[in-house]
């Protein structure tokens, strides 16, 4: 998927994360800020990278501010932001690109 415009999903509440996506400069550029960076930084980066790969997003500036979110929440927020950047709110590929 292409990132058509800037979009945000999620909050800064505990157990959540806020994901912002913008059109990139030809690659995935991740800026991660996590309250649990030392312990879970690599795992969070991995979840973000895998989620973007499933959505076939290869060109994006993505900023994630994590407040101790579970993997399932990180995935959900990344997906919500990417679909919002395309104004898609229906006919989501549940069980396909979303899994």
């Amino acid at each position: 998927m292409e990132i058509l415009k800037p979009a945000v999903a999620g909050t800064l509440e505990s157990s959540d994360c806020m994901v912002t996506v913008e059109p990139g400069q030809g690659k995935v550029n991740l800026d991660l800020d996590s309250s649990v960076m030392r312990q879970f930084g690599p795992q969070i980066k991995k979840v973000i990278a895998e989620t973007l790969a499933r959505l076939d997003v290869t060109d994006v500036n993505i900023r994630v501010v994590d407040k101790g979110a579970l993997d399932c929440t990180i995935k959900a927020r990344v997906e919500a932001a990417v679909y919002r950047s395309n104004d898609i709110r229906k006919d989501i590929p549940w069980g396909g690109a979303i899994k």
Partner: protein, 303 residues
């Protein structure tokens, strides 16, 4: 699976706790409080502009979080919205146990949801008949159509009163006395029993009045309700306590079940247990007492 024979139709549902599907902090571990069911809400708890994000959260929570046997019901958006079909697709794909229809007014509403659930089961490879439906009645019309709603689909396991909207429709409000809910409660429990489905009471929203809450639960238990919708974990132990049979009731129920099994094998229809006349009509009630006792950890027998 024939949905009418889905074993989950009759499962224990004393406490059904609402949770905002959009709040990760709420949906990550609600099983620790021990509700019988959770109702992950995509409807009123979720702001209109967050409906899309809530579905992604819901899908992954259903897929990845082990709710340890707690039933996972999803409350979808109303059939008057353009959201409910996608809500069902997301929920069924994610692996929910049941769909709760808000603002149900007719049997036709249930059939519409049933059709989309059936299609979603096929599309996402769920076992046919595995996803159940419950209907919330939130208007005078819905309450009056309770029997039609209860019998609209073999997937429907029960109906629930939604007191806030219902009392608005009656042009009154929730008073804490229960007077304004009497007719709806009585009508709904009769309709549910006539159709052989379960019946659940509305939420109690005043968390500062736990004594009032206790009385409210005692009332609906006496009326025959299977359980109550709740909004806070603090309400769970009170509901479960009221729905736990006393030791005396458990011992009596055990005797009734044993005696009916024995006597009917001998061809005897009516007899006495502890001086009370007993026949087959007492069987299901006694079984239910033992089921409630088992759920509360008060009965370890095998009846």
């Amino acid at each position: 699976m024939n949905p009418a024979e889905n074993p989950n139709k009759k499962r224990l549902r004393r406490s059904m706790m609402f949770l905002n599907a959009q709040k990760p902090g709420l949906i990550k571990d609600p099983y620790v409080y021990g509700p019988d069911s959770i109702m992950l809400d995509l409807e009123d708890a979720v702001a209109v502009k967050e409906k899309d994000a809530a579905r992604f959260s819901l899908y992954h929570a259903l897929q990845e979080i082990d709710y340890r046997g707690v039933e996972r019901v999803v409350r979808i958006n109303g059939l008057d919205s353009d959201l409910w079909e996608e809500d069902i697709l997301c929920s069924v794909a994610g692996g929910c146990d049941s769909i709760r229809i808000p603002k149900t007014e007719t049997g036709e509403d249930v059939k519409k949801v049933e059709a989309v659930v059936e299609e979603a089961e096929k599309r996402f490879g769920r076992e046919p008949g595995s996803v159940l439906i419950m209907a919330a009645l939130e208007s005078a019309k819905g309450v009056l159509n309770a029997l039609e709603i209860c019998t609209a689909s073999p997937r429907l396991f029960g109906i629930a009163l939604s007191g806030g909207d219902y009392t608005k429709d009656l042009q009154t409000s929730i008073t804490g006395t229960g007077v304004e809910l009497m007719g709806a409660r009585q009508h709904m429990i009769i309709a549910a029993r006539a159709a052989g489905v379960q019946c659940f009471d509305t939420v109690w929203t005043n968390l500062n009045d736990m004594e009032g809450f206790r009385k409210d639960v005692e009332t609906i238990k006496m009326m025959g309700f299977d359980g109550k919708s709740i909004i806070n974990p603090r309400q769970i132990p009170i509901v479960h306590d009221i729905y736990t049979p006393s030791q005396k009731e458990i011992i009596f129920a055990e005797k009734v079940v044993r005696e009916i099994d024995e006597k009917s094998a001998q061809g005897i229809g009516v007899f006495t247990v502890d001086g009370k006349m007993i026949d087959i009509a007492f069987y299901d009630g006694a079984k239910r007492t033992l089921m409630l006792a088992r759920a509360a950890g008060k009965y370890k027998g095998d009846l």
